[in-house]
Symmetry: C2
Subunit: 343 residues, 2 copies
């Protein structure tokens, strides 16, 4: 059996190739403490060693965590991630920007070829089945928008290139500071425009919690005011707490503007996020004449809405593979690709 | 002698009324731990009790810290701040939105009348001398833009009202996440537009550190990657560290895009900040026929540039009162107003 690990800056995700295999998302904020990765991987290894998970032949790795600001350079980040993986697991294969699996020694030679590869593993696996489609993965923090044309992955291979071409939109449905999405919001009866506060007062998880897209268990990150909820974190993820955070975005409290205004702010967050996705999808749809969207990730309710607006066919990987696999799709994809290559 | 204290969410600022009086800015992030205020105030009190500071008759208080997300409501925040001040000092007078000083018992009756008052104390003092002017205070986190017309302070009295009318711009020259200022940046030789990352990768302090407006000692807040610099914080405030953070805003490292691109990002930050200030100033200049700007705060290099663009007279309070008083102007103003009222 094979395993796939996707090392992100905030979450490490794991999948195995077996039917009903092991799937997990572990909140592991490298940016706070890069040493945490070792502990997390050790824990994962222990889970691999019991029951149905026993006998992992090889571990495939993709990453984005190298961009974390605990690393001076991406090079340093890739090498740290590689080293930590190699300390914990025996047979580790790293997925590179040419879609090939390489040994750790190859990573040492050219670390940057292994940076930001998680979306590529997903796109590679999907390109075998969907020859012409826009693959979209909205996660906690980012959105990948990848054109696949006649089986070829058309996206740029660096984050910078993808940011330029709308193939990477750096917003997600959990961790994104609302102030980065909305410079102004409409508020009050007259629909007046109001500037927003630039503090980290509320995140997309708050907006989608208030709108009912997420429940407490889906709120898989710290709330911005987690300092105030030390020891009672669950309370911080309640709908009322999320509403209080949304009110602060316009320097108010909930008493001052009330629930209706707060719900309206949350709706404007969703509109903004749908709109930026629509803009990217539209240009790809036109450029490559693509007629279908394949969607992974926890934010596929955003993709669905954007696809409907553009009148483009929407296929949800969570319908096909289940919600759990869809949420860790790069880890799942790298497992499957590894299995194809080595079994 | 009198003292003034301005309790913000990130900094507590202090001034006394004596010539060559005591001036201080203490980094005290209430949002992390509201109990910190007591310790900070106790320290301030001890300083008051020695030498030239001995014999404080009364302490005047303004605040903005009530908006911190350690408080469920502003009401709770105002009451916490009031209670803490009253525990430490004997004769405390709270400045309200009618520009009057009140005792603690009055705060209990109507806490919201004491919320967000620091800009008002500054404007009140200045309105005695400058009958027709735009008063602007750019601090670490926010920008106040206050029209004074025939001696009357025309700004709204709530943060929400001020956000709507461009009288409060929630960005400053230290703590502001660059992703809230710039959705896109021009980058590279072709000047291509590139989306930015929404992470808290870099702040305005980084941009102005790189451009030379700030030195290490001016960088009076935590750097976004302070976790990575535990025990060697000074290194985190070097120009090279600031450049590395700016590179991350487009998901790059410094090796990848180089110093020129990073400096260009910093310049675009300044342009964005000047532009949003110009927009506010322009509408006030037209509406009230104001021909002069009076500027306080550590960001007056931004105000100067905006005033020049609008061809409007620029008066810097740091030229008149010195840089130190200008940086804590609300605390200084509340001291002076208290002195006028009670001596």
């Amino acid at each position: 059996m094979f395993a796939g690990i996707d090392v992100g800056g905030a979450n490490t995700k794991v999948a195995t190739s077996a039917t009903d295999g092991f799937i997990d998302t572990i909140y592991a904020p490298l940016w706070k403490n890069k040493a945490i990765l070792y502990d997390v991987l050790l824990e994962v290894k222990q889970k691999f060693e019991i029951g149905a998970q026993a006998g992992i032949e090889a571990v495939g790795v993709v990453m984005t965590g190298e961009l974390c600001d605990c690393f001076t350079t991406k090079r340093e980040g890739v090498l740290h991630i590689k080293k930590t993986l190699s300390r914990v697991f025996k047979n580790v294969k790293f997925f590179d920007i040419d879609c090939a699996f390489r040994d750790g020694s190859e990573v040492d030679k050219d670390p940057l070829s292994f940076a930001s590869t998680n979306w590529l593993a997903s796109a590679k696996l999907l390109s075998e089945q969907y020859k012409d489609a826009i693959f979209i993965d909205i996660g906690s923090t980012t959105t990948d928008v990848i054109p696949i044309v006649r089986g070829e992955i058309k996206a740029k291979r660096t984050d910078l290139g993808r940011l330029k071409f709308g193939e990477l939109i750096y917003s997600g449905v959990l961790r994104t500071n609302l102030a980065t999405l909305l410079k102004k919001v409409e508020i009050g009866e007259k629909g007046e425009n109001c500037r927003t506060s630039s503090e980290l007062f509320a995140i997309t998880a708050d907006a989608y919690r208030v709108l009912g897209y997420l429940n407490k268990d889906d709120y898989r990150c710290e709330s911005p005011d987690s300092h105030a909820f030390a020891g009672r974190e669950n309370e911080g993820k309640s709908r009322i707490s999320a509403m209080r955070r949304l009110a602060r975005v316009v320097c108010c409290d909930l008493e001052e503007i009330g629930e209706d205004s707060v719900v309206s702010i949350a709706e404007q967050v969703k509109e903004a996020q749908v709109a930026e996705l629509v803009a990217s999808m539209k240009s790809m749809k036109q450029k490559y004449e693509l007629k279908m969207v394949v969607s992974a990730g926890i934010g596929d309710f955003i993709v669905k809405e954007a696809a409907d607006l553009l009148n483009i066919e929407f296929l949800s990987l969570s319908s096909r593979y289940g919600k759990e696999i869809s949420a860790v799709f790069p880890a799942y994809a790298v497992t499957k690709l590894l299995e194809q290559t080595f079994s």
